[in-house]
């Protein structure tokens, strides 16, 4: 095994693995490692690490492009399905959490002290966002499961479109809402990217599970 000082950058190697199709994983990661070892002995570790990052970035760009070229319809269909899920079912978990918070207030402990009221409003507000985040993560997983082999291209596209839609909503709210609604807008810079990031994390989770399963199969 290689000493850790001369190992390629862990994050770069992980990112390449995320975007590489299963059947090419061995060849691409092996080729990068072979050239990295060669460069380390010729020009030193730091130069080899810089080379590895450059190669990884270019390789990932090509692999993403290839995923779009090889299965444009699969990616388009899964992304469209994901958008429908996010739009139609986006508020379901939030509604569930808010219903639970209300149930506790009205049916379990109807009389709140001021501090309990604060907690109640905190969970009411957070519940909506937690619900949205759970849904984004779930949609990311579902889209990645449907777009087998193209998990990252599909979830990244969906994340990008979700960000555009959220930005559109933010602009529309800013134009038409009355003064009170501006309090909500303070959360938009965070919320704008939260959904996209969680959709992509869903894709990463599914991709990692599939990759581990494929590795187990090839070892068996």
């Amino acid at each position: 095994m290689m000493p850790s000082a001369v190992r390629p950058p862990v994050v770069a190697a992980w990112l390449v693995g995320l975007f590489t199709p299963d059947r090419q994983t061995e060849s691409i990661t092996g080729d990068l490692l072979e050239e990295f070892s060669d460069l380390t002995s010729k020009s030193g570790v730091s130069s080899a690490r810089r080379w590895y990052w450059r190669q990884s970035t270019k390789t990932i760009a090509h692999l993403i492009g290839n995923q779009f070229r090889s299965s444009p319809w699969l990616i388009a269909t899964t992304v469209l399905g994901g958008l429908v899920l996010l739009t139609v079912g986006g508020s379901w978990p939030s509604q569930g959490i808010v219903a639970l918070v209300h149930l506790r207030r009205h049916h379990v402990t109807p009389y709140y002290s001021p501090s309990e009221m604060k907690t109640y409003f905190f969970w009411l507000e957070s519940g909506i966002f937690i619900g949205e985040d759970v849904m984004s993560l779930l949609v990311g997983c579902v889209v990645a499961m449907a777009a087998k082999g193209k998990e990252m291209a599909a979830t990244m596209t969906l994340g990008f479109l979700a960000t555009l839609i959220h930005a559109g909503i933010a602009v529309s709210v800013a134009k038409h809402a009355h003064a009170d609604a501006f309090a909500l807008l303070r959360l938009f810079p965070v919320r704008l990217f939260a959904s996209a990031i969680l959709v992509v994390i869903g894709g990463v989770i599914v991709r990692e599970i599939r990759f581990a399963a494929a590795r187990r199969l090839s070892r068996a």
Partner: protein, 111 residues
């Protein structure tokens, strides 16, 4: 596969590199051969994306080699050009020659 399919510019370069390398053709050597011959630094991803496409068209075939320690126990994927691949290179080469015949490229367009 259509009999009048031509190779794209980079496909053409990759197939020629495979033909030059013979039994030693895999990702690293193909990349190095292209860099040495035409000075183009291409990514491993670009090489494999092209090889994958060529394999799907039936122009190249691949096989896995033995795992080696320098590659962290990973195998090399060796490639070779098929008879269809050789025909495609010839077809593309003839097409380029026909199209450029009679044009004084150096005298007319060199800056």
């Amino acid at each position: 596969m259509r009999s009048r399919d031509y190779l794209g510019e980079f496909e053409h370069i990759v197939v020629l590199a495979l033909m030059r390398l013979g039994d030693r053709a895999y990702g690293v050597t193909v990349r190095q051969e292209i860099a040495a011959r035409i000075g183009r630094d291409v990514s491993v991803g670009a090489i494999y994306a092209t090889l994958d496409r060529l394999e799907a068209k039936g122009y190249v075939k691949s096989r896995l080699g033995e795992p080696t320690a320098e590659r962290g126990g990973r195998s090399k994927r060796f490639f070779r050009v098929t008879a269809n691949g050789v025909s495609a290179v010839n077809r593309t080469h003839r097409a380029l020659l026909s199209m450029s015949k009679g044009i004084n490229l150096v005298g007319r367009y060199s800056s």
